[in-house]
Amino acid sequence: MLPPNKLPNPSNNEETDLCSCLENEPINIAKLGLLPGVGQESLVIPYAQKTGLQKKEGRGHDRSTFLKRGLALSSSVVLGTPEDAKHSAECTVTDMSEIVPPEVRPKPAVPAKPTGISSVHGSQGSGVGGQGAGGGSSLLGYIGIDTIIEQMRKKTMKTGFDFNIMVVGTSGLGKSTLVNTLFKSQVSRRSTGWSRDEKIPRTVEIKAVSHVIEEGGVKMKLTVIDTPGFGDQINNENCWDPISKYINEQYEKFLKEEVNIARKKRIPDTRVHCCLYFISPTGHSLRQLDTEFMKNLSRMVNIIPVIAKSDTLTVEEKIEFKQRVRKELEISGIEFYPQKEFDEDMEDKSDNDKIREAMPFAVVGSDKEYQVNGKRVLGRKTPWGVVEVENPIHCEFAQLRDFLIRSHLQDLKEVTHNIHYETYRAKRLNDNGGLHPISTAPSGDTQESNL
């Protein structure tokens, strides 16, 4: 039995190295499955390889070698050096049952924030001393349930995943530029700069552009759905109708696929996971069009309001404007993402509260680089200075990006699937008196009618 304070040191090094690794990486899609979820207090990240452990039985194998191997493999993935792996493996010959915590909380493969790792260390110590905070049934030995995270990660890396983001706002608010800046590539249709022949369309159009971007071995099929013409006419009544129609169409498509008898292995997901709504930085308050749109759509899709072109507001104006906007959203009963009602536990609530306090994020987008203090930064050059996009003092772009991509990407998809889509599905099924949904578009699918 190993007393808590004598935990192998190289493991500690492993943890800090993980932290530092995270800070240096631009987009952490790759690290999705690597980090233990905060609930998962296992120090060991067993790497279930086909050649390795799965052939052996869950309980019969030698625990020490398993541990050695697990550590070795995990550390080699993180640090990439075989020497470290050997070193760490040698020091951790210990009884597995003492180290593995009793309960592993099921959590989606969301990358934990770096601070989570230090808490792992702390709780690890308590886990060893006695029963951990998890409670529940205590395991008599190590089964390997926690390897599921690793398996999920592997699968995800192979299949890749898709993410659909919609941008809504009046023309000229920098929507396309912001999306390009967020994903650091020319993914938006206006990536070549606006041409003089572009006219404001008479009705709101929906234009979806897909790109596959890859990072760290993870492929993401990113679809950006643009809505030119929104709010640009003189009479903008119900200009959000084409948008809500589009969103419902995507739900309908998914529903049809779901109720098929012969279902596809992986249903292509074209549902809108996130809608970035651009607020014009007037400095006064929300416009009537903004509240109308958000009221109508916040129950259908995750809306994230952002303040566009925020380099037109000074620091005081920004704070005042944000406060006013938040108050108005509250008064109108608009629940933007992250919605309060979907917070699962105290931890979620406190994290999301912090984010909700800081929303709507005041952002500036740019795809041009300038030299500032010897560094090349993305920014906008004006006669009175350079606005740096990734500088947290200048604007909140970095916060938005971290929130959207590094911490809540998977959650956005989940809320869309579990809540918004389910609402739509329930409504559809109810409307048809409990029968299977009759497709609105004429389809020659005789299979559906047999349900």
């Binding site: 606006w194 903008n236 308050s285 069009l289 509240t291 000074t314 008064i331 009175w384």
Partner: protein
């Protein structure tokens, strides 16, 4: 009178020839070159008035700009409405009047504000209250001019309308185009690009070019600077040319004073720098102020009186006479313009004028017929 003339002749003879020639010249000097000074003195005593209208969506910095232009605090305790309160708001017209004095010259400045313009979801005809207001002022002046007591006419006609274009778009939006088209024949429209500190110099240039193109395309007649005479010096011509090429002006306003380069200037403080309102390389505020106040204020008033008001008046009279011709009766001498308190005397006057107009109209018709016959 003879005695004086005799005296003068004596003096002439006594003085030397040189002096005599100068005296001759003095005699040829009439002295009406002092007229401008006299006008100046009278005007200064009387004071000037100027009515400026500001229009544009809310949140574009109109009030701030007006405060910056005239260095006053016209909008001190303004309560901003939130979105709920604004749902039922229609476009209002609010007038603020302030008397400013500088170096002995008094200016009665009236600012006409148009809150609520372009803020609703459905902005159909949101410019109607504004055009109605302008027409009302013309009507009022027309009536006063035709009245008896013309000494103290109050001139409330709008001399200039500053229209604020949002910098967030890619040029003119449909509501901008419609507004300017509805107003360009009633008032001098000066388009401005508001909140220009969110644009880089490149973007400003592109936007200005685009707006100028669209103004030409849609046939909007914005206020044109008068061409300077050919005998002005080159520097003035150069300035004038620059002024014309930098329309529409990209402006920034500020209510706060910040410390920049050791001086206290009006500006906006950002984490990445300080924008100075009166710095020519930062924005066109100085050009606008010079144009509006220092060089073209009087021209704006003249154009309003000579062009827009005359257009209105001609239209009005035409309507009146066409209606009279239709009716073709004498028992409705009262004009179409309903007077608030019809005087017996004024009615008689108007009746006389009507008859005169009728006669003129008939004459014109006769002449036209004659010409027509001649042609054939």
């Amino acid at each position: 009178m003879d005695a004086i003339m005799l005296q003068e002749k004596l003096v002439e003879r006594l003085l030397s020839p040189k002096v005599r020639t100068t005296r001759l010249k003095d005699k040829q000097y009439v002295g009406f070159a002092t007229l401008p000074n006299q006008v100046h003195r009278k005007s200064v005593k009387k004071g000037f008035d100027f009515t400026l209208m500001v229009a544009g969506e809310s949140g574009l910095g109109k009030s701030t700009l007006v405060n910056s232009l005239f260095l006053t605090d016209l909008y001190k305790d303004r309560k901003l409405l939130n979105a709920e309160e604004r749902i039922s708001q229609t476009v209002e017209i609010i007038k603020h009047t302030v008397d400013i004095e500088e170096k002995g010259v008094k200016l009665k400045l009236t600012i006409v504000d148009t809150p609520g313009f372009g803020d609703a979801v459905n902005n159909n005809e949101c410019w109607k209250p504004i055009t109605d207001y302008i027409d009302q002022q013309f009507e009022q002046y027309f009536r006063d001019e035709s009245g008896l007591n013309r000494k103290n006419i109050l001139d409330n006609r709008v001399h200039c309308c500053l229209y604020f274009i949002a910098p967030f778009g890619h040029g003119l939006r449909p509501v901008d185009v419609e507004f300017m088209k509805a107003l360009h024949e009633k008032v001098n429209v000066v388009p401005l690009i508001a909140k220009a500190d969110c644009l880089t110099p490149n973007e400003i240039k592109k936007l200005k070019d685009r707006i100028r193109e669209e103004i030409d395309k849609f046939g909007i007649k914005v206020y044109q600077f008068p061409d300077c005479d050919s005998d002005e010096d080159d520097e003035f011509k150069q300035q004038d040319k620059e002024l014309k090429e930098s329309t529409p002006f990209a402006v920034i306003g500020s209510n706060t004073v910040v410390e920049a380069r050791g001086q206290r200037v009006r500006g906006r403080l950002y984490p990445w720098g300080i924008v100075e309102v009166e710095n020519q390389s930062h924005c066109d505020f100085v050009k606008l102020r010079n144009m509006l106040i220092r060089t073209h204020m009087h021209d704006l008033k003249d154009v309003t009186c000579d062009v827009h008001y005359e257009n209105y008046r001609a239209q009005c009279i035409q309507q009146m006479t066409s209606k009279l011709a239709q009716d073709n009766r004498m028992d409705s001498p009262i004009p179409i313009l309903p007077l608030p308190t019809p005087d017996v005397e004024t009615e008689k006057l108007i009746k006389m004028k009507d008859e005169e107009l009728k006669r003129m109209q008939e004459m014109i018709q006769k002449m036209q017929q004659q010409m027509h016959e001649q042609d054939q």
